[in-house]
């Protein structure tokens, strides 16, 4: 009798656990099915469809139309070639300047040099405040304050630094750096904090200086995260708008430089207003993915092969 009761209780508990388990998983699964599988499948199909004006429905009358249209526009528009070059310049800047600088700052803060707290706050500040506020402040500084200071010193009017073709690129790259260093530093410091103290001490006892410690211990220890940053950065080579949308809105004409990512975003926003153009937007997304995916996997493969190994 007691055993039977115990058995029933166990079954009930198991059932309860299962209900809890499935209730817990239900939301992410439904979310995945609708917003990942269904939406992407729907977009995939839509990319090969056209809107029929008479029946007001989508059909497969000309499956390659949207792709042809994209390449036609691409061939027509020299801005796009320039835009892709801009995207690569942006990525190169990220690779050569932003990432090394982020690593450098992270290592300094990790080593707790004097003023670490101050630097930490200053670096995190851009992450704590709305990007719109920063963009406004930065815009006024670049367009009004700095030119005014230069005018008062040299007597020469130089115009806004974001409006001027020759200075806009530099100002936008600097904004990227200033805005993204804080977030990256936060992540790297967390990873660096996980390095066992004994290993650091051992290196010191071997007479290693900071540079050797960084190259042979710190970098290998945070390599998976470093790789992740590089890898996700590749995904943005084509899609990054270099904050142009935040600075210039969908007002393409005011932007002295245009990246391919920015051009694409504006086209998507405009086309999404029109039922006739929705398949075109879907095709744009597919083309974007077709370029990015192989690139991302290739880079991942290369990075996993060239990664450093920790000493000892």
């Amino acid at each position: 009798m007691i055993n039977a009761k115990k058995h029933v209780t166990m079954n009930q508990k198991l059932r309860g656990d299962r209900i809890f388990y499935w209730a817990f998983l239900a939301y992410p699964i439904i979310h995945f099915l609708i917003f990942y599988l269904y939406v992407n499948f729907d977009s995939f199909v839509l990319a090969f469809q056209r809107y029929d004006i008479e029946s007001k429905t989508y059909n497969f009358s000309d499956p390659w139309y949207n792709f042809n249209r994209f390449f036609n526009e691409f061939n027509k528009n020299s801005v796009l070639i320039d835009g892709i070059i801009m995207n690569f310049v942006n990525y190169a800047f990220r690779l050569v300047v932003i990432i090394p600088f982020t690593l450098y700052m992270s290592f300094i803060l990790y080593k707790k040099i004097p003023g670490t707290d101050f630097f930490r706050i200053m670096l995190y500040l851009p992450m704590m405040i709305s990007s719109t506020v920063w963009v406004l402040l930065y815009e006024y500084a670049a367009e009004n304050m700095i030119p005014e200071v230069i005018r008062s010193i040299t007597g020469q009017s130089i115009g806004g630094l974001l409006s001027n073709d020759s200075t806009a690129m530099g100002m936008l790259l600097y904004f990227q750096m200033w805005y993204s260093v804080g977030g990256g530093t936060l992540m790297y410091i967390s990873a660096m904090s996980g390095i066992p103290e004994e290993q650091v001490e051992a290196m010191k006892m071997d007479g290693a200086g900071s540079i050797r410690e960084f190259v042979h211990l710190t970098l290998p220890s945070i390599w998976p995260m470093f790789m992740l940053f590089l890898w996700t950065g590749v995904a943005q080579i084509i899609t990054s708008d270099m904050s142009l949308y935040t600075f210039y809105g969908d007002d393409e004409a005011s932007a002295p430089i245009t990246t391919f990512g920015y051009w694409l975003s504006i086209r998507k926003i405009r086309a999404a207003q029109n039922v006739f153009d929705l398949p075109y937007v879907a095709a744009m997304g597919m083309i974007e993915s077709a370029i990015i995916l192989p690139l991302m996997f290739s880079v991942k493969k290369i990075l996993s092969k060239i990664g450093p190994k920790t000493e000892g």
């Binding site: 528009n77 801005v79 704590m128 009017s157 130089i158």
Partner: protein, 584 residues
């Protein structure tokens, strides 16, 4: 302690930078709901024309129905005014919104709202004779043929246009008078040329530059309409005279024209209005209907020599040929001449400062010559919403002059466009009217409330409401409505705009061609209108191409033709050839 201080400072900086930007915001307190009345939510795109005209509607409509019941246990109506986004953004939101129930918005692609079923049929409202409001005539009977064709779909009317938006040149009349910028009767070169077979007045021996400008004695020249004693007297009648006017401004230390540096497209938009004025309704309308005969297509060689092309039947399949319309070339040449000399405008603000927005440009224009350090400016590139938007600047002037200058004696008016050549002087002006303002009813309005919403829309477009709209906003509606004599005498801007509009041929930039309806943004967007490919370089803003890249008008014009090739056109619009292209 040190750590606490650091955190405190960081938080302080964060709060100051975040909320500091909001200090200028001055939100009106939301009106409380009166649960004894039925609420009707009315959305307004609060830009350019403000919300005052809807507040006036609210007052009068609530009074009209104060004793009527629309739901059990309630008497009267309470209009709740809410902000809505501009049409392009609102299109993406409305399907998820149950309020507002009625809305007024601009930059809206009407057909997209209709085609997606986001707005309700208001056929009965548009065709109803609203005698209940003391009105005599239907909304439809007051609409222009253009507007009827566009707004009446196969299923009837789903919206009505609520404002006539028109982009052009605003004059500061006070500056023109103080600086003697008007042309004088008998002195304006175009007047001499018109009566002397286009002879150069400088060679005539009976004309001198001293006769050019009106100095307070005698009379002003006839202006572009070729008639004396009208609203455009003394204004430059030709492009050539406009350049003389700019030189005169420069000589007097006045800035000839001004625009917001943030919006280089301002010149593009004014440029389209000028193309419309050059082409006239029949030819300009082809850019929207793609149905008719193009009569002024040209080719221009590298030296700027024009070759006229034979007349060409235009349909959906060859619309790209309209890039060769002469008006486009003449207007590009006009702007090239003006922008080439940096004596006429302030390059520092208008070309090189993207934070210089419309409000800054309006402030510069209104306060020029009055506030210390501000140069007098003769004209501003803007739109019919100017007077409504410049009121804060006028308040600043009133305070700084202790009331000496105020909105009653600061005079501004929309300028008539000068004509490209002397032989066009006297032709009526063609006013290109934007077709993107709509008033409509949200399809998600509860069924029991639809009748009330329709009553409100009908009320908003009575003759009285149309007049009130003009009185309050100083802007017009694209309807035939007559202002009683003297009605607008106290508002110089509205009065002259009304006179100009009545004398002009008005043209709605829209058509019922499905190619237009399904791709409206491609046809009303100034960047697409002016797209050009010069060599390997793509442009869509003539101002930027000319000032920053040094492109000539000829190169830009030929680039427009290069950009619109047959294959490109086919890719975009082939689906619509069924509509009016003869089948083999």
């Amino acid at each position: 302690m040190k750590k606490l201080a650091t955190i405190f400072i960081a938080l302080l900086v964060a709060v100051i930078t975040t909320f500091g930007g909001l200090i200028g915001c001055n939100r009106e307190e939301a009106e409380e709901i009166d649960y004894n009345k039925t609420q009707l939510y009315v959305g307004v795109y609060n830009a350019g024309y403000g919300t005052e005209y809807v507040k006036d509607l609210k007052t009068r409509f609530e009074a009209e129905y104060e004793n009527e019941s629309f739901e059990d246990g309630k008497t009267g109506v309470q209009i709740m005014i809410r902000d809505v986004e501009q049409g392009g953004v609102f299109l993406g939101q409305i399907n998820n919104l149950t309020i507002p129930e009625v809305f007024f918005t601009s930059n809206a692609d009407y057909y997209q709202f209709y085609d997606r079923g986001y707005i309700l049929n208001i056929d009965d409202v548009v065709t109803e004779n609203a005698t209940a409001y003391g009105d005599n005539g239907t909304i439809e009977s007051r609409m222009t043929e253009d507007a009827k064709n566009f707004f009446e779909t196969d299923d009837g009317y789903f919206a009505v246009p609520y404002v006539t938006s028109y982009e052009g040149i605003v004059m500061n009349v006070n500056v023109w008078e103080e600086e003697a910028l008007y042309f004088a009767k008998g002195g304006a070169p175009s007047e001499y040329q018109r009566t002397n077979a286009n002879c150069d007045p400088a060679l005539s021996g009976e004309w001198s530059e001293d006769l050019l400008y009106f100095t307070g004695t005698g009379a002003k020249s006839a202006g572009p309409d070729g008639k004396y004693n009208t609203y455009d007297d003394g204004q430059p009648a030709t492009y050539e005279e406009f350049l003389l006017f700019c030189d005169n401004c420069y000589a007097n230390g006045v800035q000839a024209f001004h625009w917001a540096g943030r919006w280089p497209q301002t010149i593009s938009k004014v440029g389209i209005s000028m193309v419309a004025d050059f082409e006239g309704i029949d030819q300009m309308k082809l850019n929207y209907t793609y149905d008719g005969t193009a009569k002024d297509l040209i080719e221009v060689d590298d030296s700027g020599n024009i070759t006229r092309l034979p007349e060409q039947k235009i349909d959906n399949s060859n619309g790209y040929l309209l890039a060769k319309q002469e008006g486009k070339y003449q207007v590009l040449k006009f702007w090239y001449d003006l922008l080439h000399s940096q004596n006429y405008f302030d390059a520092n603000t208008s070309l090189n400062t993207k934070t210089h927005d419309s409000t800054d440009a309006t402030d510069d224009f209104v306060t020029g010559g009055i506030l210390t350090g501000k140069k007098k400016i003769a004209t501003l590139l803007d739109g019919t919403w100017f007077w409504n938007e410049c009121q804060p600047a006028i308040d600043v002037v009133r305070e700084s002059t202790n009331g000496r200058l105020n909105k009653d004696n600061m005079k501004f008016q929309m300028m008539s466009f000068p004509k490209a050549t002397v032989d066009k002087v006297g032709e009526p002006m063609t006013m290109r009217i934007d077709g993107t303002s709509i008033c409509a009813i949200n399809a998600k309005t509860p069924t029991w409330k639809v009748d009330l919403a329709k009553k409100f829309v009908r009320f908003a477009f009575t003759n009285e409401s149309n007049l009130k709209f003009t009185e309050i906003t100083s802007c017009l509606r694209d309807f035939d409505y007559t202002a009683p004599t003297g009605y607008l005498n106290n508002n110089y801007f509205a009065k002259t705009l009304y006179q100009m509009s009545n004398a002009a041929d008005r043209m709605l930039c829209a058509s019922d061609n499905p190619m237009y309806l399904y791709n409206a943004v491609n046809f009303y967007n100034s960047e697409i209108f002016w797209s050009s490919q010069v060599g390997g370089t793509f442009y869509n803003v003539p101002c930027t191409a000319m000032t920053k890249e040094g492109e000539s008008a000829t190169n830009y014009f030929n680039g427009m033709k290069n950009y619109r090739t047959k294959s490109y056109w086919d890719t975009l619009y082939k689906d619509f050839y069924y509509y009016n292209v003869p089948q083999d």
